[in-house]
């Protein structure tokens, strides 16, 4: 982000793709898309396309990872080779390991792990198309997949980001905004309680900007939460 020439990404109060500052990209959610997974979800978020599959509780392999007092929640985030314009070299890398970890940790806080000692709850996230903010989409999809799998949870997690472009705090950065913006703040939040279970920051916010960004996320997450509930209900009300 150093020495990056400034790009004009805001004109007349609208962003590159015509959105307002507090507007998220269009979201489409579908639950129960995979036959062989216990629970699954597909989320389209702008140009992002992410699919998540949940399994378990089930026996832990490798054995040494198991805990005698609680379940472990493991997430595996993977980007398809064709998910980005330049082919991504397949397989785990530093970035995907990090995202797997933060999502695992975020979900662990929501699942009633103490109810299933010595087991594992697994979530596999496949990013089919990536266009900024995939970890938030991945978290949202994972949370839905777990709910679909009937795993006891405290609530549904919504992943959403805010950032700073051209000195303005805006919600849900798009591809260019992410690449050329000044800051990015992905957050995982349970909108009903306001509990935050994931937060990372790239770049710099002032305190005021940070509060504003978090405020935008909190507001937006409620709407996304509604969509998630609606998608889950749809899955179980149609036969």
């Amino acid at each position: 982000m150093i020495d990056m020439e400034e790009r004009i990404m805001i004109e007349n109060g609208t962003r590159l793709d015509g959105r307002r500052f507090d507007e998220v990209r269009p979201i489409k959610i579908e639950v129960g898309v995979l036959r062989n997974a216990v629970g699954s979800a597909y989320v389209e978020w702008g140009k992002n396309k992410v699919i998540a599959a949940a399994f378990g509780p089930r026996e832990v392999h490798p054995r040494h990872q198991q805990s005698p007092i609680k379940a472990i929640v493991r997430c595996n985030y993977n980007m398809a080779a064709f998910s980005v314009p330049d082919r991504k070299r397949p397989g785990p890398d530093r970035r995907s390991s990090e995202i797997s970890k933060v999502i695992s940790d975020a979900l662990t806080g929501q699942v009633f792990v103490e109810r299933f000692p010595r087991t594992a709850v697994d979530v596999f996230v496949e990013v089919l198309e990536a266009s900024a903010g995939t970890r938030c989409v991945a978290l949202t999809a994972s949370s839905l997949a777990l709910a679909d799998a009937g795993i006891p949870m405290r609530g549904l997690l919504v992943g959403c980001a805010a950032g700073k472009i051209n000195g303005e705090v805006v919600l849900d950065l798009g591809k260019e905004e992410d690449n050329y913006g000044e800051a990015d703040l992905p957050v995982g939040i349970e909108p009903m309680t306001g509990e935050i279970s994931l937060m990372q920051m790239d770049g710099h916010f002032t305190r005021e900007e940070f509060d504003k960004a978090l405020g935008l996320i909190t507001e937006a997450s409620k709407g996304i939460h509604e969509m998630m509930i609606e998608a889950l209900k749809r899955r179980y009300s149609e036969v």
Binding site: P68, Q110, F112, R118, T119, A149, G150, G155, I229
Partner: protein
Amino acid sequence: MDTETGTRKKEIVVPGTVLNRDQPDLKAGFGTFREKDDVMAMIIGLKDVRSNYINVIPLSGRYIPQFKKNDLVIGVVEDTNPSSWMVDINSPYPGLLHVNDAPWRVNFGETQKYLDVGDVVLAKVESVNTIKKVMITMKERGLKKLDSGHVIEVVPTKVPRIIGKKGSMIALIKRFTDVRIFVGQNGRIWLQGELDRVELAERAIRMIERYAHMPGLTDEMERFLEAQGDHVPDFTDSEKRQYRGDPDRGPGDERAGSMGGSGTGPREEDIDSELEEGPIDGRSGQARSDEPGRKRQDGARTDAANRPATPGEEELNDDEIKELIDDIVSEYDE
């Protein structure tokens, strides 16, 4: 909003939904948790208010054995030890079957003679401790090794619906298909009968699984089976009523009917003898000669997949069935 719209259609709730907004006095029941004054759903399911408790009836999820439930389960032997078997009960936790809980007198180290890997058993959950160590038992009337028949798997949360209120649904299927059925709480269902009949029964069960949350399913099912039935006996209305409400069958003892295909298998007496305590080895070897013996002969081994039905099986006693069914609080309003 669910209260007045009727008992028929229940509201679907998701994890984190507050359930006691309009009824703050209700207590947190199954599938819920309490957060300060709120009772919230922890699983996706149907909201159900019953005698001061708010429950969530699960719509998906795995079978988790519960302490003191005495669930009837169908297990597949995974491993043998000198004095016990590990049995897969379609749950995150395998069930341990100790020789003392087996219906035979087994010498130390000879467990494989009685049950080997891949064998299917009808068992009951005896205990589950705090770290979810599950003990199962076969030492009860009717519990036994399943030597023939078919085992299918369904979503465990749909099992109460497949059994029906007081066993009405399963009795209906048995009646119309002439198939002998055990429904395990763990989502495994054992079927035995003529192949096309078993197929019909499975189709019926799959239908229930699929339309589990629809109201009036029993009637729907009856219509379906009636449409299929070539050999459905004519019922008078009173007869229908009888079997519908009564798992202990209506007219014409159901067991007799379901034994039809199987003919001359061992009956009641054998169960009794099986349950008798500690006969000497030779005797037990003889009495159930067919168990380890037959296996060696034709290599027949029951596995979770389909295998042809062979005659000569015992059926769970009627009282047993009734007892099991009474254990199950029928989760759905019909």
